[in-house]
């Protein structure tokens, strides 16, 4: 226990440092005036720092070399900046907080911040299953799927021949004749493989497959009769293209009907009558995704109810988990309680099982007719735990408590153990009862330590997709909307169902935009609660 002497010493040095005001390079706090020169810790620390930094730099330079070799300038540039920063932080004397924070921040920046930036990027595009890739890919795919096999044309056995860097097909016609042709030269009858052309076996065909797949031999002088192609190196068929791509005009024209498909600026080739070609491609659409939240009344109307429920769910879940976890931690915190270790392990067991599995067990137990709760515990009652809107909401919070109290229990147990005993002792010495000590000393200390944790748990439950989806899928559905939104839906499950479950596959752009909106809401709430709980107030 700190004694009065120490207090005096402390005051003394505090006084000293405030009057001395040296050119201090270790943070800004005068209490940490070093006695030695910087690069504190002596030779060992210096060695460790040099080796680690050297390795990082060497690896980084190698990586930049490879990236530049591939022409990936952005990634190379980013890497150079990051490594330069790291070097700056560690080589410059001072910047002590930086030195301690950099390792963690490094991973955070790469894996967490990148995800956020990427999501923001996608939110401004129309990315999704129907607009999955680039325009080049879409064009290539449209061309490839527009090759129609000429009906009633036979299947030909072919051999692939090669001369230099030219490839051709030796075709065995059904009658027994042989023909040969290349991309430039239409099929003509031959008696055998022409001179100078080598046959390729399967392995060689595979090695040159890009060229072999590009072989399109016209079967006659008239290109409209079709071309012969092989896709496996052994069989070939006659194809005609139903769509022609005009590179200069950037349009597709239907060979049969003459309909022209033009790039409509929104990621599709569109004809005048509105028909589009699949697939589309990804383009920027600016704020359209964000606007749709407010303009699409299917989303807008239930949004308020879902938002309110999300807040309530997150707050109640957090509170209930914390209360129960804290209660158990206190109960089992007695120093001489026998079997304490066993109790603690058993009590924390629910947390050690995957929530997916245990959530499903609860869903089964809550089944209205056959679940254990109704059938056995309540003797055949028929309470619609998951079907009635309010009961479903209660059930969801209850199961979430079962799933999450272990976390709070762990934290509170650690917290209770780490509370400084000197204050408690002082309280006892001053004559406070145990309950008073708890209420006025331990609880406040605990709360200040745990408050940010509660805020973080609130945010976690705000986005707790798993529990809702597993238990009820958001049901029971609201009856006044055609979208699949229900009484237990929270914002994140609604986003998932609207963006991923609607027609046309997953709409990643919309999902990203909604995620960002949710993030903004959560951030505002978090900042406000930080202020309220003064969780950061001691940082003064």
């Amino acid at each position: 226990m700190a004694t009065a002497d120490q207090g005096t010493v402390n005051e003394g040095s505090a006084k000293q440092s405030t009057t001395a005001a040296p050119a201090n390079r270790w943070g800004d706090d005068p209490l940490f005036k070093p006695k030695k020169r910087l690069t504190s810790g002596g030779l060992l620390a210096l060695l460790v720092k040099v080796i680690l930094l050297g390795i990082i730099d060497a690896v980084a330079i190698l990586a930049v070399y490879i990236l530049v070799g591939k022409g990936d300038w952005i990634a190379a540039g980013v890497l150079v900046i990051v490594v330069a920063l790291v070097n700056f932080v560690y080589l410059r004397p001072g910047l002590l907080p930086g030195k301690y924070l950099t390792p963690g921040l490094f991973f955070l920046a790469i894996f967490q911040i990148f995800v956020i930036v990427y999501t923001a990027f996608i939110a401004f595009t129309n990315a999704g299953d129907a607009h999955n890739s680039t325009k080049e890919d879409a064009i290539a795919q449209i061309i490839s799927t527009s090759q129609d096999r000429v009906p009633d044309s036979p299947s030909y056995t072919v051999q692939v021949l090669k001369q230099g860097d030219q490839f051709g097909l030796l075709v065995a016609e059904p009658g027994g004749d042989l023909s040969f042709g290349t991309n430039e030269q239409p099929l003509e009858e031959v008696n055998g493989p022409p001179d100078g052309w080598d046959e390729l076996n399967l392995n060689q065909i595979i090695r040159f497959q890009d060229e072999v797949l590009a072989v399109n031999v016209p079967i006659s002088d008239d290109i409209n009769d079709g071309t012969l192609r092989t896709s496996d190196g052994q069989n070939a068929f006659v194809f005609t293209s139903s769509l022609e791509y005009d590179e200069s005009a950037d349009t597709f024209t239907d060979a049969e009907t003459g309909v022209v498909y033009v790039d409509d600026g929104e990621g599709n080739f569109r004809a005048e009558n509105g028909e589009t070609l699949t697939p589309g491609w990804r383009v920027f659409i600016g704020l359209d995704n964000f606007a749709s939240v407010f303009t699409n009344e299917q989303i807008r109307d239930p949004l308020l109810r879902v938002t309110i429920w999300t807040f309530v769910f997150a707050a109640l879940s957090t509170l209930v988990c914390f209360a129960f976890g804290l209660f158990l931690a206190i109960v089992l915190n007695h120093p001489t309680l026998r079997g304490k270790k066993v109790y603690r392990i058993l009590v924390i067991l629910p947390y050690a099982f995957p929530a997916y599995l245990t959530g499903l067990v609860w869903a089964g137990m809550l089944n209205q007719e056959f679940g254990y709760i109704n059938e056995v515990l309540l003797n055949g009652a028929s309470i619609p735990w998951l079907a009635d809107p309010w009961l479903a909401r209660f059930s969801v919070i209850f199961v979430n408590m079962w799933l999450g109290y272990g976390y709070m229990f762990l934290v509170c147990t650690g917290a209770l153990q780490s509370l400084p005993d000197d204050i408690v002792e002082a309280g006892k010495v001053d004559g406070a009862s145990a309950w008073r000590i708890f209420r006025s000393i331990k609880m406040p200390l605990l709360f200040v330590a745990v408050a940010p944790l509660l805020i973080a748990t609130f945010a976690y439950n705000f986005n707790n997709f798993g529990v809702i989806y597993m238990l009820t899928r958001g049901n029971p559905r609201f009856t006044d909307t055609t979208l699949d939104i229900g009484a237990t839906d929270i914002m994140i499950t609604m986003v998932y169902k609207v963006a991923f479950g609607g027609g046309g596959g997953r709409d990643l752009g919309l999902a990203s935009a909604l995620s960002i909106l949710i993030f903004i809401i959560v951030t505002v709430v978090a900042i406000v609660s930080f202020r309220q709980t003064k969780a950061l107030e001691d940082i003064n």
Binding site: L38, L46, D57, A130, I206, V212, D232, P279, D484, G501
Partner: protein, 417 residues
Amino acid sequence: MKVNRKSAIGVGALIAGSMILLGGCASGGSGDDSGDSGDSGDSTPITVWVDIERKPALEPVAKSFTEDTGIEVKLVTKDFATVDQDFISQVPTGKGPDIIVSPHDKLGAYVAAGVVAPLELGDVADGFAEASIQAMTYDGKVYGVPYSIENVALVRNTDLVAEPAATFDEVIANGKAAGTEYPFLVGLSPEQGDPYHLYPLQTSFGSQVFAQNADGSYDASQLVLGDAAGEAFAGWLATQGAAGTGVFNANIDGDRAREFFVAGKSPYYLTGPWNIPAISEAGINYAVDPLPSAGGQEARPFVGVNGFFLSSKSTNALAATNFIVNYLSTEDAQLALYEVGGRPPALISAYETAAEADPDVLAFGAIGQKGAPMPSIPEMGAVWSDWGNAELQIIKGEGGDPATVWETAATNIQGKI
């Protein structure tokens, strides 16, 4: 900039030293890389995505392909629930697989995302059951080679009911006469219903989800769910639900239905081949019956076809096409896949061989031949959801007039596709 001199010098020296070392390794390494792609020798392997259940089936097939052609086949297990989404996401990056094993109802989504390449099967297609090739077709083009067909049927506990029945009413009568707790079992979902299992009963009223083209495929632009036949089905469904006879109980989910049947609590169970192993292991004497008609017309179930699809950005397309079209379509391969999977093979000759040995395969397959493949349009997710919810409400007796509930759902669905 103030930099600690000692540290800086030390770091610099270390960098120089490491650079020499690493540079040497790198150039050695990249030299090897550039050397490889040009030479003969190992060709790039074909990567196949498959879920953990079907992987054992593919292993012998892949091995013999490698023996015959020298091309290596890499089997990668993926989580079945997300494999289709992962495929769509990863193909454009160039790191996707060459081949994916997938049920056919994802084909529409794959085509819309541009991630599968059309395959020309040629004469190979003739050897397959027509429904299976239809399932592999989207918008008139074939995209895959099928290998198994699965559909539901009526499984009967022969100890409780000796003879098959033709109509649904007879089935229920038999079930009641058997004196068990439930006359009939089908696994539904208390959250979202199960239109897939109830579809044969729906088609027996002449009601379908989409209009069928001449070749049997679905015309996704014509939703016929809400027609008069559909309303008739809805009305009948209500009479069998909670407000009526109680034959259909939404609280009995797939798990429970199986447990009850295995415990002998019902003589009839509408399910698919996936539950047969559990039933036979439990020692139940069972028979596979055709689906009973409830509305007078033939009961035709949905058919699910599993097949192999080729990625549109495969860098090894020629080898992969060889594997799929020329190898996986042979009777040996189809039978090998059947041995492990237990589903009726899609290749007709393989099916006949399998059916000779296994009467279950014969029975399921015969029923499947009358069925139609599930629609594979990308919008099916929304369709299943609303459709299932409507059936759930009707079965529970909620929402008022069943015909109205049905119509509302049909209108909603129409608006979404």
